[in-house]
């Protein structure tokens, strides 16, 4: 049984068919890559999966449950978390608080308990702090727990975004160009982290990436998008050697 099953997914903006008949099936625990030239509709697919856009046609089934047309918060509760191409952190909050916001629906207490500082508040806050530090440790960010998110270096901001997404305890993690703007060393480190996350949290990961070293290094399967349509789909090696993919995206 696949973790994510997408069938005939399409969306039009006016006359433009941004995504046309997109199909994908991702097995549980897979590291799946979505690649293609700029403007191919990759991020639009992410926005469709997370409910930012409502699809014109098609179905999205997560872990056997139809989540087509649901709102972003509902989809997050069903188990899809994402990061963004242009980093979107809570800049005025600390690193730890960013992750604690991610834990918002995981550990809860009523508003009144927070205002009156009841025991349930103290207990839940303690649990939140411990859990967030645990997560930050995975990304080697625990030393910066009290730093403002906006003061982190770029590479760490990317990692923090992943940590925050993981805090929502998702089944499927969507990473939108996680290695963008990173140097080769940082990228290498990120590859290890992504694989670690997959193994440690038994996570299914779908990622968009332009860095072919990362894609060929960690993704087991790929889908290539071009002009909103699936150009090619299959095992990484096959896809990357496909002459059409080479012509449309990789360059001869």
């Amino acid at each position: 049984m696949a973790m994510l099953e997408v069938t005939n997914l399409s969306i039009s903006f006016g006359g433009l068919r941004a995504v046309d008949d997109f199909n994908v099936s991702i097995e549980e625990g897979a590291l799946y890559g979505l690649i293609g030239p700029n403007g191919a509709g990759k991020t639009t697919v992410f926005n469709l999966l997370t409910g930012v856009y409502k699809p014109s046609e098609g179905h999205i089934i997560l872990d056997g449950k139809d989540i087509t047309g649901k709102k972003t918060i509902e989809i997050n509760k069903e188990g899809i978390a994402r990061t963004f191409q242009n980093i979107r952190l809570f800049k005025e909050l600390t690193v730890q608080e960013n992750v604690m916001v991610g834990l918002h629906n995981e550990i809860t207490y009523p508003t009144i308990a927070g205002i009156l500082k009841l025991p349930s508040y103290r207990r839940a806050e303690k649990e939140m702090r411990e859990k967030s530090i645990e997560l930050l440790k995975v990304f080697d960010l625990d030393q910066e727990a009290d730093t403002l998110a906006s003061n982190l270096p770029y590479g760490k901001q990317r990692k923090l975004e992943i940590a925050r997404a993981l805090a929502t305890n998702p089944k499927l993690l969507l990473l939108d160009e996680p290695a963008a703007g990173m140097n080769p060393n940082e990228t290498l480190e990120l590859m290890n982290t992504i694989q670690f996350v997959r193994d440690q949290f038994k996570m299914t990961i779908l990622l968009i990436e332009h860095d072919m070293k990362l894609v060929s290094g960690i993704c087991s399967k790929l889908t290539v998008l071009n002009f909103g349509q699936v150009l090619c789909q299959g095992d990484t090696e096959e896809v990357l050697n496909n002459p059409e993919v080479v012509k449309a995206y990789l360059g001869e």
Partner: protein, 362 residues
């Protein structure tokens, strides 16, 4: 790790203690001055309004600084508090004779009414952002003020009478109590407010706002401020938390309004006290005190209320000096040089203290 956590907790507690301590210290000093006769009557008359302005500034900071939405209708919510609280007190004057209890209930009722109206206004209005939201809240504030100005309410042995035309159309018996008289305002409130209650209300406001900020809900509200799309993507209910911040802010303004009403014998809803002039003045307190800085709001509210009052003797130069103070405060708060200078002083003080400690150790 444990140490770091402890350190953080103490830093946060320290900030809280400074804020509460500042308010309590000012209270004690004022009380001492009052009892030893070192306070002018003019100053005494200002104490409750000062509390009112401080509460207004703190509660508006919840909307502007923490939620990050520009609201220009804050005075409207306090206007609701004024009239609901005052009407309740006048009606209950003979029923509940314990003034503290009556005032407490009036504050609760005023806060509740303002909170509910804030919630109802918030539902359509909070879909807007930025300048658009500012304009619409401004409009609602004016609507509230104008509606209050056409209300006529009186009480006689048959119960309450209500009209929107004039006093005559109430058709009341002889010897009836006229409670709300349209543009002539509301009068006959028992003077239940005093400085102690004002300070208590300010402390409660601080308690609610500061604890809210440091809770799960407060983080959600600040997450919405910092990045709406990201907040939504981690499962935060945007509408819920926007409404929560907005209506708590309105409720606290309502409570402040009740305090304000019971400090005067007559309150009229004019542009100066419940119109946009006041809303903008409160916003000035918040901006000058530092957006999102709760303690700053109180300090700015106190200074900027005191300055024009204390300068009354200078007549035409009064507003000139007021504007200079405004500019001066802005520079002191935000200019990079001033911030550097302030930090320099702090480190010097710290070094001095460390030296003293070392000397003592020797």
């Amino acid at each position: 790790m444990e140490d770091a956590k402890k350190k953080k907790m103490t830093a946060y507690t320290k900030q809280m203690i400074i804020t509460y301590g500042m308010v309590i210290a000012v209270y004690i000093i004022c009380e001492i001055c009052m009892h030893t006769g070192h306070m002018s009557n003019q100053m005494k008359g200002l104490l409750v309004p000062l509390c009112y302005y401080a509460i207004m500034a703190v509660s508006l900071n919840l909307t502007v600084g923490i939620l990050g939405e520009l609201s220009l209708g804050h005075a409207g919510f306090s206007c609701i508090g004024v009239f609901v609280g005052a009407v309740f007190s006048i009606c209950m004057k003979d029923v509940i004779t314990v003034s503290y209890l009556r005032f407490f209930l009036a504050i609760l009722l005023g806060a509740l009414a303002a909170g509910v109206i804030g919630f109802l206004i918030g539902i359509p209005v909070l879909r807007l952002r930025g300048d658009y939201l500012a304009i619409v809240t401004l409009a609602f504030c004016e609507i509230i003020k104008n509606v209050v100005n056409i209300i006529y309410l009186g009480k006689d042995s048959n119960g309450l009478h209500f009209s929107t035309k004039d006093m005559m159309s109430l058709g009341m018996e002889e010897g009836a109590v006229e409670i709300v008289k349209g543009p002539q305002g509301i009068s006959g409130m028992p003077s239940d407010a005093n400085f102690t209650i004002g300070i208590l209300l300010l402390l409660i406001t601080l308690f609610v706002v500061l604890n809210l900020i440091h809770s799960r809900d407060g983080r959600a509200i600040m997450a919405i401020r910092d990045n709406l799309i990201a907040a939504e993507s981690v499962g935060i209910n945007i509408t819920k938390y926007k409404l929560m911040a907005f209506s708590i802010s309105a409720a606290l303004a309502g409570a402040a309004g009740v305090l304000y009403a019971h400090n005067f014998s007559i309150v009229k809803a004019t542009t100066n006290n419940f119109g946009y002039n006041m809303s903008i003045m409160i916003l000035v307190f918040v901006v000058l005190g530092g957006i999102g800085n709760i303690r700053g709001s109180i300090i700015a509210a106190v200074i900027l209320t005191l300055v024009p009052e204390l300068l009354r003797g200078l007549q035409q130069y009064r507003l000139l000096i007021y504007s200079v103070v405004l500019i001066g405060m802005m520079l002191l708060n935000w200019s990079p040089k001033a911030i550097e200078w302030k930090e320099g002083i702090v480190t010097k003080l710290k070094r001095g203290r460390n030296k003293q400690v070392e000397k003592q150790a020797d």
